[in-house]
Subunit: 247 residues, 2 copies
């Protein structure tokens, strides 16, 4: 046995979770106010808030200060496919998400310089890509490219355009190595507010470095995929002695 009598907050969270998953409280709808819920469940406000915190960490509820607690609309679960060409790195999406992209030129910070194998303070073009499903931010990518490789028609802040990556890929020499480092962490405060997620929701952080045939790093990307709506899959094919790969 795990809990002979679950704590109050878990009992309340379970009850609300049930009401949400059975549709008794519809997606997008506002929950009763915290004080109403507290008196309904006969608990104090902190206890009720703890219960809601559980649901927030699960990505089921979104709090908006001054407005209330809202049942999050179920976001499509995406699968990031690793190692593929950039153009098909996202699949499993019935239709592509809407993406906003902003591009700026920045000086490489130490960490970026190390990733790209350039000296610090080199000028890079940074693409910040925010994908949306409806009005809801879905996931976030920051892509860094040496300025001389960046497509110039994207560098001046075109607001939202589909599939930049496709265009980037056209311009790159053939890639020979893609290295993807995957970690799990909680979002930074900025990421949490950008993606409108609880800072307790785990995110998948993928750092992707792509090099061309000369070994030059042509792209580094930091992808932030909230764990409640994305997985990454990596497939390796070995034919007898370790070759053959399909993204």
């Amino acid at each position: 046995m795990i809990q002979p009598v679950a704590s109050r907050r878990h009992a309340i969270a379970d009850d609300l979770r049930n009401q949400i998953s059975t549709g008794r409280i519809a997606a997008g709808e506002r929950l009763p106010s915290e004080s109403e819920l507290a008196s309904h469940y006969k608990v104090s406000t902190p206890t009720l808030r703890n219960a809601l915190a559980i649901l927030q960490a699960e990505g089921l509820v979104e709090k908006i200060h001054g407005k209330g607690n809202f049942v999050r609309r179920r976001l499509r679960r995406l699968t990031y496919v690793g190692g593929g060409r950039l153009t098909d790195a996202w699949s499993g999406a019935e239709e592509p998400l809407r993406v906003t992209i902003s591009a700026t030129n920045i000086k490489a910070r130490r960490d970026l310089a190390a990733l790209l194998g350039v000296s610090a303070r080199t000028t890079l073009t940074e693409f910040v890509c925010l994908s949306y499903e409806g009005n809801q931010p879905h996931s976030l990518a920051r892509i860094y490219v040496p300025r001389d490789l960046a497509p110039t028609d994207l560098t001046d802040g075109a607001p939202w355009r589909e599939r930049v990556e496709e265009r980037l890929a056209e311009l790159c020499p053939p890639l020979v190595e893609i290295r993807e480092t995957v970690g799990a962490r909680c979002p930074t405060p900025e990421e949490a507010s950008t993606l409108r997620i609880s800072s307790a929701l785990a995110v998948l952080a993928i750092t992707r470095v792509a090099a061309d045939i000369a070994g030059r790093v042509v792209e580094a990307a930091v992808l932030v995929l909230p764990g409640d709506r994305a997985d990454a899959v990596f497939t390796t094919h070995h034919t007898t002695e370790g070759k053959g790969k399909e993204g």
Copy 2:
């Protein structure tokens, strides 16, 4: 600006975090009791506990009921290398961690049956591998193998033995496909207590499915790697038109 004046709990967490990272509070040491800390910082107990919760979620502090709060010994950061042969899937470790393994035969649950491509209720051998760095649990793996493929000398609960996977690999026909699905989530309560981590610390969950040359799934594994001490890296080599792979 993000926070003009950080909340009390963040200020306290920052102060304690500083004391920990500068070594003013040594690794493994016990913090003053919560009531002492609360009076020291002139806050109430819940506020102080909120501050500690932040440090727990970062994996810096471990609470032990009835004993106190302890500064976690810094665990080695491991890199799981994807796609490789099973035998070298862990690398970056100076010396291998100590691993306890227990093996039991179970009936496949629906999810496992689907993973392994067998019918439900098929008998599987489950290996539960818990790796330790010193006395500290590091990470957790559950490996499922059809019973007829399981090495019999491991199925009767040999307590801890290094590198089961090596032995498993010897017995398997050549693998042609490894598919690794990576997600980020918070640990289940059981995982949190097994690994002695906060249930707010993000973990990397890797589901690995390996198939032999005939397409038979010979192994499914669920790895749980706490995000504060592990990454996974996947490297893909393309030679002109998409082949070549190295784990």
